[in-house]
């Protein structure tokens, strides 16, 4: 699959080559390298867009989507003896994520066009993109885990090499936090692997072990094992493995109380790293939940429904309250990510088709909006040498472009109607309403999330007030500028933010371009998996 292999190989070759040339030659090579990588990633974007038109239908409907069926599949034996295959494929769950990754790659490269040490920086971004795509297209547990861990390495280096002052602490915390969670997840995967019966091996089983890592096979098998009130693997075991997998995904998401790595990583990460981290990497958590524990263990999902709901609520509320108290612009945006990931969690926990479609769309919309937020933060830091809210006032007067971009991104993130974020938030609220009614609970529970939206609006508006509008004496630049004239953002930054803004509007006004696909997928998974297994449960349609 060229989507995965080529970016990784290309970036490794580039980095291997430039590490052997002298400093001067490397400086000269920066420009050709970043142009090449930009064109390459634009090519990838073109490829995924063409895939979208060819195989996922046109803009009018997605009739071909069915649960557990995949397009663009390819399979090569990797480690025969253990049943490991290089197995890739796309469905309506992974496709938006892959497209989002390929969209964000060129935009990230453009937005951080003159990052220092570009000869290493841009290949690393490309490597990151390749690994992320690998996570989304993998249809083999082993391959999934390999790419899951592989994404850590470029991000670790991005934070370490290009990060802020506390970058070492942040990078190590980031790495160890997510690594710990993923090894627990790995143990869960291995336990799941060995709970297969080698006497009746599934397809693609290993010659040595008689078991398979193949995700579609496992999903298919667990579907039948879960029927008629039976629990695949037995009730207790299913819950344990579900919890082990969810730990890995919740830390990555991140959900309170596992979220503390995120603000540190974001504040210290360079702009490009933050854009990819918030844009795509966090979505790996939610994607993984849909791909593995939900598809394999619907019973356990129902069992843990309220736990998940609580985690989502706490993330949502805690994230936004902490935002109110932040003085660091980037940290505020990072906590707002925690809060938005809580929305995804709630969407999943409602166990409604509309809630899942909303979660999927939230992943997508947040993937477009949050890079915009971080691009603004990066430009802010780049040009004003400070990240403190209030250190820079009156931006509207002297930096109209940045002020406009910031305002737009902030509005999109707080869920302004007609922008992408609004659609997802509204759908989650509807799903939550359904959930409360179905559970027979008081709909007053809605007050919490609804109030949080107000809080969100409050911290965003307040921070805008203190940066864009207040003060603004052009003759008195802030102290961090050392008396230099105040520049507006550069053209490449304008371009990147403009493109992101256009997509935010596009998916806000015409959400069905992506939403139809997600809606169909969640209806399919409900009709094909959840309803047959769980029967008439409270969270049903």
């Amino acid at each position: 699959m060229p989507l995965v292999g080529f970016p990784i190989i290309a970036s490794l070759i580039i980095m291997g080559t430039i590490s052997n040339v002298s400093e001067e030659v490397r400086e000269k090579l920066v420009n050709p390298i970043r142009w090449a990588i930009l064109l390459f990633s634009l090519g990838l974007l073109g490829l995924t867009t063409a895939m979208f038109y060819n195989y996922f239908g046109d803009l009018n409907g997605f009739e071909g989507i069915a649960f557990n069926s995949y397009e663009f599949t390819a399979r090569y034996a990797w480690v025969d003896s253990l049943g490991i295959y290089w197995s890739v494929g796309l469905d309506a769950l992974s496709f938006p994520m892959v497209w989002l990754t390929t969209l964000l790659l060129p935009i990230t490269i453009i937005a951080t066009w003159d990052e220092k040490n570009g000869a290493y920086y841009h290949p690393l971004i490309l490597l990151m993109g390749g690994a992320l795509i690998g996570v989304f297209v993998a249809l083999d547990l082993f391959m999934f885990y390999v790419f899951w861990e592989l994404t850590l390495i470029p991000m670790f280096f991005l934070i370490l090499k290009w990060g802020g002052e506390d970058r070492k602490y942040a990078a190590q915390k980031f790495f160890i936090y997510t690594f710990t969670a993923s090894v627990v997840m790995l143990l869960g995967l291995v336990t799941l692997y060995f709970l297969q019966n080698p006497l009746e091996p599934l397809a693609y089983s290993g010659t040595l072990t008689g078991r398979t890592f193949d995700i579609p096979e496992l999903v298919n098998y667990s579907y039948h094992a879960n029927m008629n009130g039976n629990w695949f693997l037995g009730a207790s075991m299913q819950k344990i493995i579900f919890a082990m997998l969810m730990l890995g995904f919740l830390v990555k998401l991140p959900a309170v109380p596992f979220h503390t790595w995120l603000p540190d990583a974001h504040v210290q990460a360079p702009t490009g790293g933050s854009m990819l981290l918030a844009g795509v990497m966090l979505k790996m958590g939610a994607y993984g939940m849909f791909r593995l524990p939900i598809a394999l263990f619907p019973h356990a999902l129902e069992y843990f429904q309220l736990v998940l709901m609580t985690i989502g609520m706490v993330s949502l509320i805690w994230g936004s309250i902490v935002c109110l108290g932040q003085t660091n612009l980037k940290k505020m945006v990072a906590y707002s990510s925690v809060s938005h990931m809580g929305v995804i969690c709630i969407g999943i926990a409602t166990m409604q088709p509309i809630g899942w479609a909303a979660a999927l769309f939230m992943m997508f919309a947040h993937g477009i909006i949050s890079p915009h937020l971080f691009a603004v933060c990066g430009a802010f830091k780049h040009h004003y040498h400070s990240m403190e809210i209030g250190s820079m006032r009156g931006m509207a007067k002297h930096s109209p472009w940045l002020a406009t971009s910031m305002m737009f991104a902030w509005m999109a993130s707080l869920g302004l109607p007609l922008l992408a974020g609004f659609v997802a938030e509204l759908m989650v609220l509807i799903a939550l309403w359904h959930f409360l009614v179905a559970e027979g609970w008081s709909v007053l529970w809605m007050v919490g999330p609804a109030l949080v939206l107000a809080v969100t609006a409050a911290y965003y508006l307040w921070s805008m007030q203190r940066t864009i509008f207040e003060g603004g004496d052009e003759t008195q630049p802030p102290a961090s500028m050392d008396g230099q004239p105040i520049p507006d953002i550069a053209n490449h930054e304008k371009l990147a933010m403009f493109v992101l803004a256009m997509f935010t509007i596009l998916f806000g006004v015409m959400p069905w371009i992506a939403l139809d696909m997600m809606n169909d997928w969640s209806i399919q998974i409900f009709e094909g998996l959840i309803m047959p297994i769980l029967g008439n449960f409270n969270g049903g349609v």
């Binding site: 480690v79 390495i153 190590q172 037995g234």
Partner: protein, 605 residues
């Protein structure tokens, strides 16, 4: 499948069977003799005739090269390694070397012919099985020779050599450390190979001591530094005490069973462990032997000498201790625990199961936590090697439980083979990335002390390729995909989980309700292992951070001293570390074959 050719020493097939070891012996002789060759002549008394006798005198120009012993040793070791590889390549023959065979035909089978395993009845009563050559021991020979030849190549530039213009034999004395070092490497390889082959505890002990004494001297060889002498002394004292305890254990076994043959001991053990309970003597003996080998694998709490020894020895030697010497300990433990005190009886859980499980948990946790706090990269690697020993002991523990599930009858042996495969795979790839990491330190060491993490600072600026290599070694050690370290850790976890889950897959199809409590408790070893590997992330990452994100120390600037030999060795390690990670299939099959040949009762299940 399990056909073994019985041969006597110096039979016609003897050379074929023991060719790698014979190569080593030849190399040893060459190493001793060749540097002495010269133009010496002998005048026949009363005449003017001078007969050349070649020993001594003015030496030939090629021979007077002080690096010659190194080249001889490397050639020997590489030849032995290649020979082992070729036996794998050309289909493996199994040989059992016995002290005496009946010359006549019994039961229609001629001695020396191919026999089905278990045909030991054709041996006369006094005859002993000495050495067994099969996939398992061959694989270990491969590990030993591979690791030691890499270390030999890498140490070529490390030892000081003096002017080679002096061609007299006296110059040999000035450069005698060259020859000594490589002779010790060869004897260590020899001893380790004997341990891998031995079927008699006495032979095993001989090999163990040969390897141990060589390694004591090798550790102390780095006498330029104070730590070298100290480390060597500590290693010697603790090591000899451990050997002594082990020997005491062997003697108690002999007292109990009247034999030191592995096969006979195994039978005796099985008989003793049958329903009437367990006699104390063999168990105490087993405990003592565990101490002896526990020292070799540096399992906590017998690991105290290891950090000092690793820090004191020159890095290639420390690399040998961490890879080949550890593999030797694992062979010994495997033979003692899985062959002699084999867990085949009644409920299937071996008598030593709990003890070894606790030992493994203590070892991996202690190693990792101690490594967190050490600022000396070599000590850090030593503690990480303790942790890795813990992972392997966890694997051995799991094998001890392989047939715990009564429902497993039929295919339980698969699980044992799987874990053994994982242990073997781990030992092989450990040579790549552990030894490789030590070799990188070795280059740094040729510039000055490497007793502080800060000496690694700025390596990425000084030597980008070395830094990348070290980076790959570190993430391999930590077990990050797609490196080979991840593959080995995954295999280990998979093996342990497979044992623990047992036959629960069957129960699932019957609709039984299961919980993790239904699995064997070795499952928790897997959990502790993954948590430990998360802890280990801290100190491996610290090395990476130090290399990439700290400026070089004041007087340590610019590229490091050259030495293409050690760089070649590092390069080979890097290639292997990555290759076995992304294309592990071949090696897994090889290890599986070796694991299969260890214990026929697994394969026959």
């Amino acid at each position: 499948m399990s056909e073994v050719t019985y041969i006597q020493p110096f039979d016609d097939k003897f050379t074929t069977a023991l060719l790698p070891e014979l190569i080593l012996v030849a190399g040893l002789f060459a190493l001793i003799i060749i540097p002495n060759l010269g133009k010496a002549t002998f005048r026949v008394p009363g005449t003017q005739i001078r007969l050349p006798y070649f020993l001594g005198g003015e030496r030939y120009s090629l021979i007077s090269n002080p690096r010659l012993p190194g080249w001889i040793a490397v050639t020997t070791l590489v030849l032995a390694f290649v020979e082992v590889m070729m036996t794998f390549e050309s289909g493996l023959q199994r040989y059992m070397i016995v002290s005496e065979l009946l010359p006549t035909t019994i039961n229609g089978v001629t001695a020396g012919d191919v026999l089905v395993n278990g045909g030991s009845h054709i041996l006369p009563s006094g005859s002993k099985e000495l050495l067994l050559i099969n996939g398992f021991s061959r694989l270990f020979e491969m590990i030993f020779f591979g690791a030691i030849s890499l270390a030999a190549i890498a140490s070529m530039n490390r030892l000081q050599s003096f002017d080679s213009s002096d061609r007299s034999t006296n110059a040999l004395y000035n450069n005698r450390r060259q020859a000594d070092f490589y002779i010790l490497l060869l004897t260590a390889a020899m001893g380790m190979a004997i341990v891998a082959l031995a079927q008699d505890l006495f032979v095993l002990f001989l090999g163990l001591e040969l390897a141990s004494f060589s390694s004591y001297v090798l550790v102390a060889f780095h006498k330029e530094s104070k730590e070298g002498t100290e480390g060597g002394m500590k290693y010697f004292i603790v090591g000899s005490v451990a050997s002594g305890i082990g020997l005491y254990g062997l003697s108690m076994l002999y007292l109990w069973a009247g034999t030191l043959q592995l096969g006979e001991l195994s039978v005796a053990f099985d008989a003793a462990m049958a329903p009437q309970g367990s006699p104390a003597l063999p168990l105490i003996a087993l405990g003592f032997i565990l101490v002896g080998f526990g020292f070799k694998v540096s399992a906590a709490p017998f690991h105290f000498a290891a950090p000092d020894a690793y820090a004191g020895a020159s890095s290639p030697v420390a690399g040998i201790l961490a890879t080949a010497s550890k593999a030797m300990g694992i062979v010994g433990l495997t033979r003692m625990l899985l062959i002699v005190a084999s867990p085949e009886s009644n409920d299937g859980s071996a008598i030593w199961l709990v003890a070894l499980g606790i030992l493994s948990v203590v070892t991996m946790t202690w190693g990792n936590i101690a490594a967190l706090g050490s600022d000396n990269p070599k000590r850090m690697l030593a503690y990480s090697s303790v942790a890795h020993a813990g992972y392997m002991l966890a694997g051995l523990t799991a094998i001890g439980a392989w047939n715990w599930d009564p429902k497993l009858a039929g295919h339980g042996g698969d699980a044992a083979i799987m874990v053994m495969t994982a242990i073997l795979f781990h030992l092989v790839v450990l040579v790549c990335f552990k030894l490789g990491a030590f070799l990188v330190l070795s280059i740094l060491e040729s510039e000055g002390e490497v007793s502080k993490m800060s000496s690694l600072r700025g390596l990425s600026k000084r030597e980008p390729l070395l830094a990348v290599s070290m980076f790959i070694f570190m993430i391999s050690l930590a077990g990050v995909p797609p490196m080979s370290g991840f593959m080995s850790k995954l295999l280990m976890i998979m093996g342990i989980v497979k044992v623990a889950i047992g036959n629960m897959g069957d129960a699932l199809s019957n609709g039984d309700i299961l919980s993790i409590g239904d699995a064997h408790w070795v499952w928790w070893l897997a959990l502790i292992m993954v948590l430990n590997s998360a802890i280990s992330m801290f100190y491996y990452l610290r090395v990476i951070v130090t290399m990439y994100f700290h400026e070089p120390e004041g007087d340590r600037q610019g590229p490091l001293p050259s030495g293409w030999q050690v760089r070649t060795a590092i390069f080979a390690c890097v290639i292997a570390s990555v290759f076995f990670g992304i294309n592990a299939d071949g090696l897994i099959e090889l290890c599986e074959m070796a694991a299969n040949s260890l214990n026929y009762s697994w394969a026959s299940q």
